[in-house]
Symmetry: none
Subunit: 152 residues, 2 copies
Amino acid sequence: MQNLSHDIEKYILDLLEGVEDNFISLRRKELAEMFECVPSQINYVLRSRFTPEQGYLIESRRGEHGYIKILRITCEKTSEKISHINEIIGDEITFKEARKLLAALQSRRMITGRERLLIEVALKHITDSGHDEDTEETAYLLRNMLGGLMGA
Amino acid sequence: MQNLSHDIEKYILDLLEGVEDNFISLRRKELAEMFECVPSQINYVLRSRFTPEQGYLIESRRGEHGYIKILRITCEKTSEKISHINEIIGDEITFKEARKLLAALQSRRMITGRERLLIEVALKHITDSGHDEDTEETAYLLRNMLGGLMGA
DNA sequence: TGCGGTTGATTATCACTGACCTATAAAATA
DNA sequence: TATTTTATAGGTCAGTGATAATCAACCGCA
């Protein structure tokens, strides 16, 4: 027995394992009742463990028939790929180096041309907004974006 | 079984699927009778699910021979897509609004789940890095990213 | 002793309803 | 024919109940 948040995370992960479409719908209230906790605890778990950076998207509706939908973007376990990429990126990376990496990833079919474009636009935004190139922030964002894609 | 609004939405969507011209005409009263609800329920569904932001335009006429016409916007040319999206985004957009737009774009098959995730991570990066939410910068980056995609 | 975890009061949003409002066309009337 | 009346359609808005989100305060362990 770890803790409540961990158990809820595990439960959601198990649910996601068992479906085809890479998404599940659930009721916040019901889940809270199941774990005998306040509903806001569910939000905490989602906020801390099912972020876009971790490869998940959350959709929800309030009111009658409200729900929370959790989408997993990638399913394959590729922790090796991730750590490999993170190793390459490191704590700092220039825009130029980043572009090289992205080109390599595309040629290996790990990302599409469109995805590469999106990442480059985002990285360029950072580079353009600061006076000097912020290689740390670039590395941070790149890790987050690629990590989300590969499924941390 | 979801809920009434969802069923009505589904029905309208099905109707739209089955026509050539990307629009349908219907009677509010008849539809309300079909679903055994008050007529204003139809307005609610249209207002909440068939907005321009979601790619639809509504025309209507009151009085005898009244009708409601639902038009699905399809942007053939890339320049149309881009200007349409730019119009929706405008000069400022909140992270929340952006997420809604991205969900709508994905449901219209204009972006993939992975692409949506990448954009959300990038937008989240902006939101997180400032003290206050910078709706102008969010709009700027979002226009750049989506504009790039539509052109690709 | 700082940070993740936990809690519950408050706030925001969604689905739905119904009373009242506005617009239109056809029929009635002058 | 021109005007008024009537029937019939859709529009608006605020209220209610059911959810979910947020936020700030507290807890507890390494």
